[in-house]
Amino acid sequence: MAPGHFVLTLDAPELARSARPGSFVAALAETGGERILRKPFSVFIVDRDAGHVQILFSVYGPTTKAMSQLQPGAALDILGPLGGRLFTPDPRPGVHHVLVGGGYGVPPLNFLARELKLADPGAHVTLIHGARTASFLVGDDGLRELGVSVIACTDDGSKGVAGKVTDALAPLVSPNPDNSPLPPGNGGISTNSPITGGRGAENGLGEVALYTCGPTPMMKAVAQLALEHNTPCQVSMETFMPCGVGICVGCALALPDGTFARACTDGPVFFADEVAW
């Protein structure tokens, strides 16, 4: 695993059966009084036959610290699968599914990529994921083997595209003729490349469906690209979620009409234009 990242395999047959891409679980770790709430973690890799569900996390605070110290065989109190609206595979035939993730947004996209390939092995699926540096790139496990194109982006160019995920994404929704299509690791894609085209399909690219999960600034940039190019884009929001089941209204997500949705049960997946960015 990348430094500071952990994968827990939960023996949870019921969860394995019912989890869908975008589902999350709420974990209660023993932190004494330091933290009293459950914390949400996306379902990462599911093995339905074995009844196993994996989650991937890094240590942020007390809950993830306690989880990182669990010994094999230990019990973890989880509630799930949670989530109201989850990722929905874009039904357009031949559509290019582009999944854009960063940080802990990658795990649910891995799950989504697998499900897309499971439903249609010929599906055109690309995962673009980004991190500060190569060692922080996590969560793409097993996707290449399934025929998913994986494009890594690193801020420092230590692996894949040097730059942000949007640098790798832009040509897919709006090709810039000056750039070759996605050379891995040569830093050739400039963050300043002007947005020239309309939606991808009109520029000779196949139709594109976007799915994104990660830090809000990243998702906002992806959503903006999508909105500019009229590309359907599903975003899985990362608000703080005190209860995860819809009873606290602490996960308020601002909507364009000035009201608030509950990110946990009205989402976590929304269409990009449903959110006030």
Binding site: G33, I36, R38, T239, F240, C248
Partner: protein
């Protein structure tokens, strides 16, 4: 074993309900827990008009507690009557509706609608929410509390509970004012006002600046308020503040509460109220009590 508790004409089959605002409208968790196993379900605050609530961040964690500043987000009384009450009325469990307001008229308006529609079995007057303007003034002035209770008393035959704030110098005169004005019971305590600061960003953590503290951190404060209020009123008290276990609940009964509500802990386990009701029953049996009422205020001194 008698577990039931009466608050005016409201009969709870066991002494456990939930804190308003910590259990939604019941429907959200009806698939996870059996609503019928609670003594009553206390639903989210329902106001005269729809309220959109405060912007995020609305909830932050503190040591053994959370601070919330939801801002009473709710669809308003008409939305409650149309979209929430019918679901709840599929069950036999009594419904307590929490009603905030900015004037006696506001409280009475909502109470009358609830009564006319038969959409509540008791009304809990939220005279104490620290997150909206005016809330606190009503919470701290016995005269204003009396006005609110009297205004509601006039328009409903339903049991009326006054939910008081702990953010006061002395809860006793306020508890008495509510009783004298005709309240059938008290709910104690609402959240304790506080704030949290992000030292790195040098900002308040809550968009609303202040929030209400709840959870185990406030249990010692809540127990004392319940004990003090119980020493001056004769009406039943629903005790709450930091309850996570049957032992906590029993402490509140011993302090003088006739029933208890579980709040923040629902976010961890929406079924915890049921576990607590079972735990109280077990404690009563083990200690040879035959009626939960025997435990109320039963401190040896």
């Amino acid at each position: 074993m008698k577990l039931s508790v009466a608050i005016g004409s409201l009969t709870m089959k066991n002494p456990v309900t939930v804190g308003s605002g910590t259990f939604g409208f019941g429907s959200e968790v009806a698939e996870l827990v059996d609503l019928e196993k609670f003594g009553a379900i206390t639903v989210k605050a329902t106001t005269r008009e729809r309220r959109i609530g405060n912007p995020p961040t609305r909830i932050v964690e503190t040591s053994s507690g959370i601070l919330n500043a939801i801002g009473l987000q709710n669809g308003g009384i008409d939305d409650y009557l149309t979209n929430k009450a019918p679901f709840l009325r599929q069950f036999t469990v009594p419904i307590i509706v929490n009603v905030p307001g900015e004037s006696p008229d506001d409280f009475a308006f909502v109470a009358r609608k609830l009564t006319d529609a038969g959409a509540a079995d008791a009304i809990e007057l939220n005279i104490s929410c620290p997150n909206v303007s005016h809330g606190l003034d009503y919470a701290t002035d016995p005269t204003l509390i009396a006005q609110v209770v009297e205004a509601v008393r006039k328009v409903t035959h339903l049991p009326v509970l006054a939910k008081l704030s702990p953010n006061v110098t002395d809860i006793r005169p306020l508890a008495r004012a509510a009783e004298d004005a005709g309240a059938d019971g008290l709910s104690l305590i609402n959240t304790v006002i506080g704030t949290a600061i992000d030292a790195r960003k040098r900002r308040f953590k809550l968009a609303n600046v202040t929030g209400g503290l709840s959870g185990p951190a406030i249990k010692p404060i809540a127990l004392l308020h319940v004990y003090r209020a119980a020493s001056v009123v004769h009406i039943p008290i629903i005790g709450m503040g930091g309850i996570v276990s049957a032992t906590d609940a029993i402490e509140f009964l011993l302090a003088g509460a006739s029933a208890v509500a579980v709040g923040t802990q629902n976010f961890v386990d929406p079924g915890v109220g049921i576990t607590i009701a079972e735990g109280i029953e077990k404690y009563l049996a083990e200690n040879h009590f035959s009626d939960v009422a025997e435990l109320v205020g039963a401190l040896e001194t």
